[in-house]
């Protein structure tokens, strides 16, 4: 199944070390599910925090955005004849951070479409650790910027 979504991941405008999607496990016009394992060697752990590596909340937010907003958005564009091809720029984020996520942890992200209208996609996002604990949740929105204009 997972190979079916490889063409979506290939379209992501991010690359290592700022790519926070390892794979997708589900993708429809209504929702997306994917996963990522945080690399202990990631640069941000060297500074967050001093001598006590914890995944920064903003990096969890980015993981939520890449899987829950951008992968979903790329899929919606594919199925939306009138939409221009382009890049989704994050315009708003509203997040709550509930539990710390440590280096090496594998997380699962679920994004659910709230609306996709006039090239704006808003999604509800949730990030779970391996034991099923909700580590952060929120809403993220982005605008599809046409590459033509």
């Amino acid at each position: 199944m997972e190979n079916a979504f490889d063409h979506i991941i290939a379209q992501l405008p991010y690359s290592s070390p700022f790519l926070f999607v390892d794979g997708l496990t589900g993708l429809t016009s209504e929702y997306v599910e994917g996963y990522y394992q945080f690399r202990p060697e990631s640069d941000f752990y060297r500074g967050h925090f001093k001598d006590a590596p914890v995944t920064p909340g903003v990096i969890l937010t980015e993981c939520c955005a890449q899987i829950g907003l951008v992968c979903l958005g790329l899929h919606l564009i594919e199925n939306h004849i009138h939409a221009a091809k382009g890049v989704i720029a994050m315009t708003e984020s509203q997040m709550e951070f509930l539990k710390p996520v440590y280096p090496g942890e594998k997380v699962r992200v679920r994004g659910e479409k709230i609306y996709f209208r006039f090239n704006k996609l808003k999604a509800k996002v949730r990030l779970y650790t391996a034991d099923g604990t909700l580590a952060c949740k929120g809403q993220i929105a982005g605008i599809l910027n046409s590459t033509e204009g």
């Binding site: 315009t91 006039f118 090239n119 704006k120 929105a141 605008i143």
Partner: protein, 83 residues
């Protein structure tokens, strides 16, 4: 839709999306939403969705493009409501 009541309603819907340096009292029928009121494209979508909810109408891409000023918004709402 040309009466004061509706203008006030639309202004109420727009106000939360105005940048801090724009005084809601300075808004007129001729105020250009993007060029003068500095409303960005992400918030313009939110305004359109709020107008849809408020007036129980459905707006299309064409309506969005024609909605340049506050007055345009009032005209588009009026036209949609007549249908």
């Amino acid at each position: 839709m040309k009466n004061t009541e509706s203008y006030k309603e639309v202004l109420e819907i727009i106000s939360p999306y105005l940048p801090e340096d724009i005084d809601p009292k300075s808004v007129t029928l001729n105020s250009h939403l993007i060029d003068e009121l500095n409303i960005n494209s992400a918030h313009l979508v939110d305004i359109v969705l709020d107008l849809e909810d408020r007036y129980d109408i459905q707006l299309e891409d064409d309506d969005m493009q024609q909605m340049q000023t506050v007055g345009d918004a009032l005209s588009i709402i009026a036209a949609k409501k007549e249908k």
